[in-house]
Amino acid sequence: MATAHLETTIAPEKIAAMYLQYEVEQFYTHEAALLDHQRFEEWVDLFTDDTAYFMPIRRTVPRRNLSREFTQPGEMAFFDDDKATLVGRVQKLGTGTAWAEDPPSRTRHLVTNVRIIEDLGTELTVETCFHLYRTRLKSEIDEWIGRREDVLRRTEEGFRIARRDIYLDQTVLLSQNLSNFF
C-alpha cells in the first residue's frame, strides 16, 4: 500500500533525483571504503585516464582580496596530478619502502553534504564535504576538513572521477606531510 501511495504523490522526476542522489552517495561510500582499507589500486581505477586531481594552496588574505584566496591551475599547488602521477603515487605506496606510510597511517574518510550541482548527462558536477581523520605511529593525529568538487563521468563501469578539486580548510598546513589521498 505504501508503494501505491508513493507513486501517487511523488513526481517521477523526484524519484529519479532521489535515486541519482543514492547512486552518487553509494559511489562515495565505496570510494572512502577503498581508501580506508588501503585498496589504492582499486581506488585509482575510479579515475578516468584524462583525470585531473588538484589541491590548490589556500592563503589567509584580507576579505577584499578573497578572489586570491586559492591558487589557480598553472600556479603552485599541493597536488596537481594527472592519471599517471596518481598511479605513480599508488605504486610508490606499493613499493614497501615508502617510509612515511610504514608503519601505515590509519585513516577514516567521512564524506558528507553530497550536493549534485549540475547534471549534463554524461557528466555530473558534485560537491562533497569531507573529514579525513588520520592517526600515525603511536600518538600523531592529523585532521583535514574541506570541500571537494568532482566531475563524475557516467561510464559502463559506473561513475568515474574525471576531475577532483580539493579545497582544504587550512592555510599553513598543520601536518608534516600529505601522504594520503583525499
Binding site: 589541491m55 605504486q91 598546513l173 608534516q176
Partner: protein, 454 residues
C-alpha cells in the same frame, strides 16, 4: 642544560667538536639554546624574506618571519620596498593578520591607529578629544627592520644595524648560491607559497640540504617509481629490511663526484658536480643545469661556481634547489619548524617548459612531494629522540670524510672535491657555534673563514 651568564661562552664550545665530527644532541631540543639562536642568529643574520615579484603592485604585502618577529614586506607607492614590524606602536596588536594581499594602509583593529604603506602613523582616533593633540604622531611609526636589501630581486633583511652589508654577508659562496637561481633567466615567483609544519628542530632541515647520503635510502620508494635517477651500482653496504633481506639499494649516479663550497658566515654548497649531473640526466633534461655555461650566468658564477649542480644553502635557513625553488625553514620553537616553499619560473621559457617545471616542483617537494613526504619523518623522529636523557647523551655524528676535506681556494671559492661526505654539515655546525656564542661580526667572520682542511 644551564646557560651561564652572558659573556661566558666556554660551556657552548663542547656542543660542537669539529675534530671528532661529533655534536651534542642537546642543540636540537634545548629551549635555552633555542633562545640563544633567536637572539644571536635570527636577530642578527640577513634573512631571506621574499622575492620582489611576489609583491609587484603598490600596496602588495607579504608577511615574512624574522625569528619570532613578523615583518610585512610592502611595495611602496614609489615602487620601492619596505619591511615593517607587524606590531602596532600603540599597544602591540598585529596591524595585519593576513599572509599576503593588497592594502591601501594598515589599520590596527584594536583602537584604529592607521599606518601608511611606509609605516607612518597617519590616523589616530580621538586625536583631539582624547589625546588633546598632545601625541606626536611622527614618533610612532611602524618600526622598520634595521637593514633591508635586494640581491637580484631576492629581498633580505637583518634586525642588526651593525650587520655587514648584504653583499659582504653573502660573500662569494652566498652570491653563487643565489645566482644558481637568479641567473637562470628572467625569474618570477609563482603564486602560492606551500607552508607546512614539522615537529622538528630547524637544524635538521637545514643540514639535510647537503645530505646526499640519505636519498638512496630515505627516497628509495621515489627512486623505485622513477622520480630520481639511480646508478646501476648496487650499494652492498648492508642495508637490510626487517625480514633480513638486502634492501637492494641503488646509489645515485653522482655520488662519487660531488663538490662542496664553504663560505663565510656559514653559507655552503654541497652536492653533485655539474658534469656528474649531466651524465645522469636524460638529454632532454640537460637544460636544467647547462644554462650555467651561457655567457651571462657564467660571468656571474665564475669558473668554480658554474661547476656546481646543487645544493646551495644560505645560513641559516634558505636552501636553493636545483629546479628553481627555495625551501625556507622557519623555526617556531625548539621542536617545531615550518617549511615554506617558494617556487620560481623563467619568463623566457616557453609555456610548455614552464608547465613541465611546475609539475616537477609540485611533485618533488612539499608535503605531498614524492621526495619530501619521507624527509619530515626523519627529522621529527630525530628531534624527538634528543629529548631522552640517555638518548641525548649519544653524540650526533658527522664523520663522513672527516679530516679528508682538502680545501682548494680558487676564484674566491673554498671548494672540496670528494665523494658523498659530511663536510658542509660540519661547516654548518662549526659556523652555528660561532653564531650562538654571540661574538662580534669581525670574530664571527674570522671564525667562519675556511682554512685548508675540514
Amino acid at each position: 642544560m644551564t646557560i651561564e651568564a652572558p659573556g661566558t661562552t666556554a660551556h657552548l664550545e663542547s656542543l660542537v667538536n669539529v675534530a671528532t665530527g661529533e655534536l651534542d644532541r642537546r642543540i636540537f631540543s634545548d629551549e635555552e639554546i633555542f633562545e640563544l639562536e633567536m637572539q644571536h642568529i635570527f636577530g642578527r643574520a640577513w634573512l631571506f624574506l621574499c622575492h620582489e615579484t611576489q609583491i609587484p603592485k603598490k600596496g602588495d604585502f607579504f608577511e615574512a618571519p624574522m625569528g619570532k618577529d613578523n615583518v610585512l614586506v610592502v611595495r611602496q607607492r614609489d615602487r620601492s620596498i619596505k619591511a615593517l614590524l607587524n606590531t602596532c606602536t600603540h599597544r602591540g596588536n598585529a596591524v595585519c593578520r593576513a599572509e599576503e594581499g593588497n592594502v591601501r594602509n594598515f589599520m590596527c583593529t584594536y583602537h584604529g591607529w592607521t599606518f601608511g604603506l611606509d609605516g607612518e602613523l597617519v590616523g589616530v582616533p580621538g586625536m583631539s578629544d582624547f589625546y588633546r593633540d598632545e601625541l606626536d604622531r611622527t614618533k610612532h611609526p611602524l618600526r622598520k627592520v634595521a637593514q633591508l636589501d635586494n640581491y637580484k630581486g631576492f629581498i633580505f633583511a637583518t634586525m642588526d644595524p651593525q650587520a655587514p652589508p648584504l653583499l659582504e654577508f653573502l660573500g662569494r659562496t652566498g652570491r653563487i648560491a643565489i645566482d644558481l637561481l637568479a641567473e637562470r633567466g628572467d625569474i618570477e615567483a609563482r603564486p602560492g607559497v606551500q607552508k607546512f609544519t614539522l615537529n622538528c628542530n630547524w637544524k635538521f632541515t637545514a643540514d639535510n640540504a647537503f645530505d646526499y647520503y640519505h636519498p638512496q635510502i630515505t627516497h628509495i620508494s621515489a627512486q623505485a617509481v622513477g622520480m630520481i635517477p639511480s646508478a646501476d651500482v648496487n650499494d652492498t653496504g648492508g642495508a637490510k629490511t626487517d625480514e633480513g633481506k638486502a634492501l637492494g639499494v641503488q646509489r645515485l649516479p653522482t655520488d662519487l663526484d660531488t663538490l662542496v663550497a664553504l663560505g663565510e658566515y656559514g653559507h655552503a654548497i654541497s652536492g653533485p658536480s655539474l658534469d656528474s649531473m649531466l651524465r645522469t640526466l636524460p638529454p632532454e633534461m640537460h637544460e636544467l643545469v647547462t644554462w650555467r655555461r651561457n655567457p651571462g650566468p657564467l660571468a656571474a658564477l665564475g669558473p668554480v661556481g658554474s661547476r656546481f649542480a646543487g645544493h646551495p644553502h644560505l645560513f641559516p635557513t634558505a636552501w636553493f634547489t636545483m629546479d628553481a625553488q627555495i625551501s625556507l625553514r622557519v623555526p617556531r620553537s625548539a621542536g617545531v619548524t615550518e617549511v615554506w616553499w617558494f617556487s620560481f619560473k623563467d619568463r623566457n621559457e616557453s609555456p610548455e617548459e614552464q608547465k613541465a617545471q611546475l609539475g616537477r616542483q609540485i611533485h618533488s617537494f612539499g608535503p605531498a612531494g614524492f621526495l619530501e613526504q619521507e624527509d619530515g619523518e626523519n627529522w621529527s623522529q630525530s628531534t624527538a629522540q634528543t629529548r631522552g636523557g640517555a638518548s641525548r647523551d649519544i653524540p650526533q655524528l658527522l664523520k663522513m670524510g672527516l679530516g679528508r676535506g682538502k680545501i682548494i681556494h680558487e676564484d674566491g671559492v673554498a671548494r672540496i672535491e670528494a665523494p658523498v661526505n659530511e663536510h658542509a654539515q660540519l661547516w654548518t655546525y662549526l659556523s652555528w657555534l660561532a653564531w650562538v656564542k654571540g661574538t662580534s661580526w669581525d670574530e664571527l667572520r674570522s671564525a667562519t673563514t675556511p682554512g685548508d682542511y675540514i
